[in-house]
Protein backbone atom coordinates (compact mmCIF):
# COMPACT_ATOMS: atom_id res chain seq x y z
CA UNK A 1 0.00 0.00 0.00
CA UNK A 2 1.22 3.47 -0.87
CA UNK A 3 0.54 6.73 0.93
CA UNK A 4 1.07 10.15 -0.58
CA UNK A 5 1.49 13.02 1.85
CA UNK A 6 1.21 16.58 0.56
CA UNK A 7 2.58 19.24 2.88
CA UNK A 8 2.04 22.97 2.45
CA UNK A 9 2.57 26.10 4.48
CA UNK A 10 -0.72 27.08 6.14
CA UNK A 11 -2.87 29.74 4.54
CA UNK A 12 -1.76 33.07 5.93
CA UNK A 13 1.85 31.96 6.40
CA UNK A 14 3.91 33.76 3.76
CA UNK A 15 5.67 31.31 1.43
CA UNK A 16 9.02 32.84 0.35
CA UNK A 17 9.64 30.23 -2.35
CA UNK A 18 6.13 30.61 -3.77
CA UNK A 19 6.55 34.37 -3.87
CA UNK A 20 9.87 34.12 -5.74
CA UNK A 21 8.43 31.69 -8.29
CA UNK A 22 5.34 33.88 -8.72
CA UNK A 23 7.62 36.81 -9.49
CA UNK A 24 9.67 34.75 -11.97
CA UNK A 25 6.54 33.53 -13.77
CA UNK A 26 5.40 37.14 -14.09
CA UNK A 27 8.79 38.07 -15.58
CA UNK A 28 8.37 35.26 -18.13
CA UNK A 29 5.08 36.74 -19.27
CA UNK A 30 2.62 34.50 -17.43
CA UNK A 31 0.35 37.29 -16.29
CA UNK A 32 -2.62 35.17 -15.16
CA UNK A 33 -0.91 33.69 -12.10
CA UNK A 34 -2.60 35.03 -8.97
CA UNK A 35 -0.72 33.06 -6.34
CA UNK A 36 1.92 30.32 -6.07
CA UNK A 37 2.32 28.03 -3.08
CA UNK A 38 5.15 25.52 -2.96
CA UNK A 39 4.93 22.43 -0.80
CA UNK A 40 6.48 19.01 -0.66
CA UNK A 41 5.25 15.55 -1.39
CA UNK A 42 6.35 12.50 0.57
CA UNK A 43 5.56 9.08 -0.88
CA UNK A 44 5.54 6.20 1.59
CA UNK A 45 5.46 2.53 0.73
CA UNK A 46 3.77 0.67 3.58
CA UNK A 47 3.55 -2.96 4.59
CA UNK A 48 -0.11 -2.57 5.44
CA UNK A 49 -3.20 -3.65 3.49
CA UNK A 50 -5.91 -1.94 5.52
CA UNK A 51 -6.40 1.60 4.13
CA UNK A 52 -7.94 2.87 7.39
CA UNK A 53 -5.05 1.58 9.47
CA UNK A 54 -2.56 2.92 6.94
CA UNK A 55 -4.12 6.37 7.04
CA UNK A 56 -4.17 6.44 10.84
CA UNK A 57 -0.53 5.44 10.95
CA UNK A 58 0.52 8.07 8.40
CA UNK A 59 -1.46 10.72 10.28
CA UNK A 60 0.58 9.90 13.37
CA UNK A 61 3.79 10.19 11.31
CA UNK A 62 2.69 13.61 10.06
CA UNK A 63 1.90 14.90 13.55
CA UNK A 64 5.17 13.60 14.99
CA UNK A 65 7.68 14.25 12.23
CA UNK A 66 6.64 14.72 8.61
CA UNK A 67 4.92 18.08 9.06
CA UNK A 68 5.54 20.95 11.45
CA UNK A 69 1.95 21.74 12.37
CA UNK A 70 2.93 25.18 13.68
CA UNK A 71 3.30 26.36 10.09
CA UNK A 72 2.30 23.46 7.83
CA UNK A 73 -0.89 21.66 6.82
CA UNK A 74 -0.84 18.15 5.42
CA UNK A 75 -3.12 15.94 3.34
CA UNK A 76 -2.89 12.16 3.16
CA UNK A 77 -3.92 10.12 0.15
CA UNK A 78 -3.87 6.34 0.33
CA UNK A 79 -3.36 4.61 -3.01
CA UNK A 80 -3.22 0.87 -3.33
Amino acid sequence: MKAIVNIQLKQGVLDPQGKAVHHALGALGFKDVEDVRIGKQIVLKLDQNDPEKAKAEVKEMCEELLANTVIEDYEIEIVS
Binding site: L9, V13, L14, P16, Q17, A20, L65, L66, N68, V70, I71
Partner: protein, 223 residues
Amino acid sequence: MKTAIVVFPGTNCDYDTQYACEMMGSKTEFVWHKETALPKETDLVILPGGFSYGDALRSGSIARFSPVMKSVIDFAGKGGKVLGICNGFQILLESRLLPGAMKRNANLHFISKHHHLKVVENDNDFLKALKSGDIVNIPIAHGEGNYYIDDENLQKLYDQGQVLLTYCDAEGNPLNPNGSVDAIAGICNREKNVFGLMPHPERAMETLLGSADGVSMLAGLFR
Protein backbone atom coordinates in the same frame (compact mmCIF):
# COMPACT_ATOMS: atom_id res chain seq x y z
CA MET B 1 30.80 25.21 36.14
CA LYS B 2 30.29 22.58 33.48
CA THR B 3 28.75 23.04 30.03
CA ALA B 4 27.55 20.07 28.00
CA ILE B 5 27.87 20.70 24.26
CA VAL B 6 25.66 18.33 22.28
CA VAL B 7 27.10 17.05 19.00
CA PHE B 8 24.79 15.74 16.26
CA PRO B 9 25.89 14.36 12.91
CA GLY B 10 26.34 17.58 10.93
CA THR B 11 27.02 19.88 13.88
CA ASN B 12 29.90 22.19 12.93
CA CYS B 13 30.08 24.87 15.62
CA ASP B 14 30.99 22.51 18.48
CA TYR B 15 34.63 23.55 18.75
CA ASP B 16 33.89 27.29 18.46
CA THR B 17 31.32 26.82 21.22
CA GLN B 18 33.84 24.95 23.37
CA TYR B 19 36.39 27.75 22.83
CA ALA B 20 33.82 30.36 23.89
CA CYS B 21 32.70 28.42 27.01
CA GLU B 22 36.25 27.80 28.18
CA MET B 23 37.08 31.45 27.62
CA MET B 24 34.15 32.26 29.92
CA GLY B 25 35.67 29.98 32.57
CA SER B 26 33.48 26.89 32.17
CA LYS B 27 34.59 23.29 31.87
CA THR B 28 33.11 21.65 28.80
CA GLU B 29 32.18 18.18 27.70
CA PHE B 30 31.05 17.09 24.26
CA VAL B 31 28.00 14.83 24.34
CA TRP B 32 27.42 12.65 21.29
CA HIS B 33 23.75 12.62 20.28
CA LYS B 34 23.45 8.88 20.92
CA GLU B 35 24.15 9.31 24.64
CA THR B 36 21.10 8.79 26.82
CA ALA B 37 22.27 10.93 29.73
CA LEU B 38 23.96 14.28 30.25
CA PRO B 39 27.27 14.42 32.15
CA LYS B 40 26.95 14.61 35.94
CA GLU B 41 26.80 18.13 37.35
CA THR B 42 25.91 19.75 34.04
CA ASP B 43 25.03 23.40 34.66
CA LEU B 44 24.32 24.43 31.10
CA VAL B 45 23.49 22.55 27.89
CA ILE B 46 24.32 24.13 24.54
CA LEU B 47 22.93 22.86 21.24
CA PRO B 48 25.46 24.38 18.83
CA GLY B 49 25.06 25.41 15.22
CA GLY B 50 25.52 23.35 12.09
CA PHE B 51 23.40 21.24 9.80
CA SER B 52 22.21 18.31 11.88
CA TYR B 53 21.18 15.43 9.61
CA GLY B 54 21.89 17.65 6.60
CA ASP B 55 18.76 19.71 7.37
CA ALA B 56 16.73 16.84 5.85
CA LEU B 57 12.95 17.39 5.90
CA ARG B 58 13.20 20.60 7.99
CA SER B 59 16.15 22.06 9.91
CA GLY B 60 16.30 20.39 13.32
CA SER B 61 13.38 18.05 12.69
CA ILE B 62 15.37 14.80 12.86
CA ALA B 63 17.84 15.84 15.57
CA ARG B 64 14.87 16.35 17.83
CA PHE B 65 14.48 12.55 18.02
CA SER B 66 18.12 11.81 18.87
CA PRO B 67 18.40 9.79 22.11
CA VAL B 68 20.13 12.63 23.97
CA MET B 69 17.21 14.99 23.38
CA LYS B 70 15.07 13.17 25.93
CA SER B 71 17.68 14.02 28.58
CA VAL B 72 17.88 17.60 27.33
CA ILE B 73 14.09 17.95 27.54
CA ASP B 74 14.10 16.46 31.08
CA PHE B 75 16.94 18.79 32.07
CA ALA B 76 15.02 21.81 30.75
CA GLY B 77 11.84 20.60 32.47
CA LYS B 78 13.66 20.64 35.81
CA GLY B 79 14.75 24.24 35.24
CA GLY B 80 18.19 23.49 33.77
CA LYS B 81 19.57 26.16 31.45
CA VAL B 82 19.62 25.30 27.75
CA LEU B 83 20.95 27.52 24.96
CA GLY B 84 20.34 26.75 21.28
CA ILE B 85 22.41 28.62 18.72
CA CYS B 86 21.33 28.68 15.05
CA ASN B 87 20.64 25.01 14.22
CA GLY B 88 20.36 24.51 17.99
CA PHE B 89 17.58 27.11 18.06
CA GLN B 90 15.86 25.27 15.19
CA ILE B 91 16.09 22.01 17.17
CA LEU B 92 14.55 23.69 20.24
CA LEU B 93 11.66 24.93 18.08
CA GLU B 94 11.12 21.50 16.54
CA SER B 95 11.25 19.98 20.05
CA ARG B 96 8.57 22.50 21.12
CA LEU B 97 10.81 23.65 23.96
CA LEU B 98 10.39 27.08 22.36
CA PRO B 99 7.31 28.38 20.51
CA GLY B 100 7.14 29.15 16.78
CA ALA B 101 8.88 27.74 13.73
CA MET B 102 11.52 28.61 11.12
CA LYS B 103 10.93 29.17 7.42
CA ARG B 104 13.33 29.76 4.53
CA ASN B 105 14.81 33.26 4.57
CA ALA B 106 12.46 35.68 2.79
CA ASN B 107 15.02 36.34 0.02
CA LEU B 108 15.76 32.59 -0.24
CA HIS B 109 19.50 33.25 0.21
CA PHE B 110 21.83 31.75 2.76
CA ILE B 111 22.91 34.86 4.69
CA SER B 112 26.38 34.90 6.23
CA LYS B 113 27.57 38.24 7.63
CA HIS B 114 27.95 40.31 10.77
CA HIS B 115 24.64 41.84 11.85
CA HIS B 116 23.62 44.20 14.62
CA LEU B 117 21.15 43.07 17.22
CA LYS B 118 19.18 44.98 19.81
CA VAL B 119 18.64 43.60 23.29
CA VAL B 120 14.90 43.69 23.97
CA GLU B 121 14.74 41.96 27.35
CA ASN B 122 17.66 41.49 29.74
CA ASP B 123 15.61 40.25 32.70
CA ASN B 124 16.83 36.68 32.25
CA ASP B 125 19.89 34.53 32.96
CA PHE B 126 21.12 34.76 29.37
CA LEU B 127 21.30 38.49 28.66
CA LYS B 128 21.57 39.87 32.19
CA ALA B 129 25.11 41.12 31.50
CA LEU B 130 23.67 43.47 28.86
CA LYS B 131 21.09 46.25 29.15
CA SER B 132 17.80 46.54 27.30
CA GLY B 133 18.43 48.66 24.21
CA ASP B 134 22.10 47.66 23.95
CA ILE B 135 23.29 47.01 20.41
CA VAL B 136 25.72 44.18 19.71
CA ASN B 137 27.45 43.05 16.52
CA ILE B 138 27.23 39.28 16.04
CA PRO B 139 27.61 37.10 12.93
CA ILE B 140 24.62 35.35 11.39
CA ALA B 141 24.90 32.37 9.03
CA HIS B 142 21.66 30.66 8.08
CA GLY B 143 19.27 29.79 5.27
CA GLU B 144 16.26 29.08 7.45
CA GLY B 145 16.12 31.85 10.01
CA ASN B 146 12.79 33.40 9.06
CA TYR B 147 11.08 33.12 12.44
CA TYR B 148 7.32 32.66 12.37
CA ILE B 149 4.79 32.76 15.17
CA ASP B 150 1.09 33.58 14.96
CA ASP B 151 -0.21 36.92 16.29
CA GLU B 152 -1.77 35.51 19.43
CA ASN B 153 1.39 33.71 20.54
CA LEU B 154 3.55 36.69 19.49
CA GLN B 155 1.58 38.83 21.92
CA LYS B 156 2.20 36.26 24.64
CA LEU B 157 5.95 36.40 23.91
CA TYR B 158 5.92 40.17 24.45
CA ASP B 159 3.67 40.02 27.51
CA GLN B 160 5.90 37.46 29.19
CA GLY B 161 9.22 39.11 28.31
CA GLN B 162 10.26 36.29 25.97
CA VAL B 163 11.45 38.36 23.00
CA LEU B 164 15.17 38.70 23.72
CA LEU B 165 16.84 40.01 20.57
CA THR B 166 15.84 41.70 17.32
CA TYR B 167 17.84 42.43 14.18
CA CYS B 168 18.70 46.10 13.63
CA ASP B 169 21.26 48.41 12.01
CA ALA B 170 24.29 49.93 13.79
CA GLU B 171 22.11 52.74 15.20
CA GLY B 172 19.40 50.40 16.40
CA ASN B 173 16.89 51.12 13.63
CA PRO B 174 14.87 48.11 12.49
CA LEU B 175 16.65 46.09 9.81
CA ASN B 176 15.31 42.66 8.99
CA PRO B 177 17.70 40.37 7.06
CA ASN B 178 15.52 37.28 6.80
CA GLY B 179 11.84 38.18 7.07
CA SER B 180 11.38 37.12 10.71
CA VAL B 181 8.19 38.28 12.42
CA ASP B 182 9.06 41.64 14.07
CA ALA B 183 12.71 40.99 13.09
CA ILE B 184 13.03 38.60 16.03
CA ALA B 185 16.49 37.01 16.35
CA GLY B 186 16.20 35.32 19.74
CA ILE B 187 13.59 34.23 22.27
CA CYS B 188 13.23 32.24 25.48
CA ASN B 189 10.56 30.06 27.04
CA ARG B 190 8.10 31.36 29.62
CA GLU B 191 10.14 29.94 32.50
CA LYS B 192 13.21 31.75 31.12
CA ASN B 193 15.60 28.81 31.27
CA VAL B 194 15.56 27.78 27.57
CA PHE B 195 17.07 30.28 25.13
CA GLY B 196 17.36 30.23 21.35
CA LEU B 197 18.93 32.62 18.89
CA MET B 198 19.96 32.47 15.23
CA PRO B 199 23.11 34.65 15.52
CA HIS B 200 26.42 33.11 16.61
CA PRO B 201 27.86 34.73 19.78
CA GLU B 202 30.54 32.00 19.89
CA ARG B 203 31.94 33.41 16.63
CA ALA B 204 32.28 36.87 18.18
CA MET B 205 34.77 36.23 20.97
CA GLU B 206 37.85 37.93 19.51
CA THR B 207 38.20 41.48 18.15
CA LEU B 208 40.65 40.04 15.63
CA LEU B 209 37.77 38.07 14.10
CA GLY B 210 35.53 41.11 13.64
CA SER B 211 33.74 41.46 16.97
CA ALA B 212 34.09 40.45 20.61
CA ASP B 213 30.49 41.31 21.50
CA GLY B 214 29.79 37.61 22.04
CA VAL B 215 31.71 37.85 25.32
CA SER B 216 29.23 40.24 26.95
CA MET B 217 26.33 38.42 25.33
CA LEU B 218 27.31 35.06 26.83
CA ALA B 219 28.59 36.43 30.16
CA GLY B 220 25.20 36.13 31.89
CA LEU B 221 25.11 32.35 31.47
CA PHE B 222 28.49 31.91 33.11
CA ARG B 223 28.01 34.08 36.20
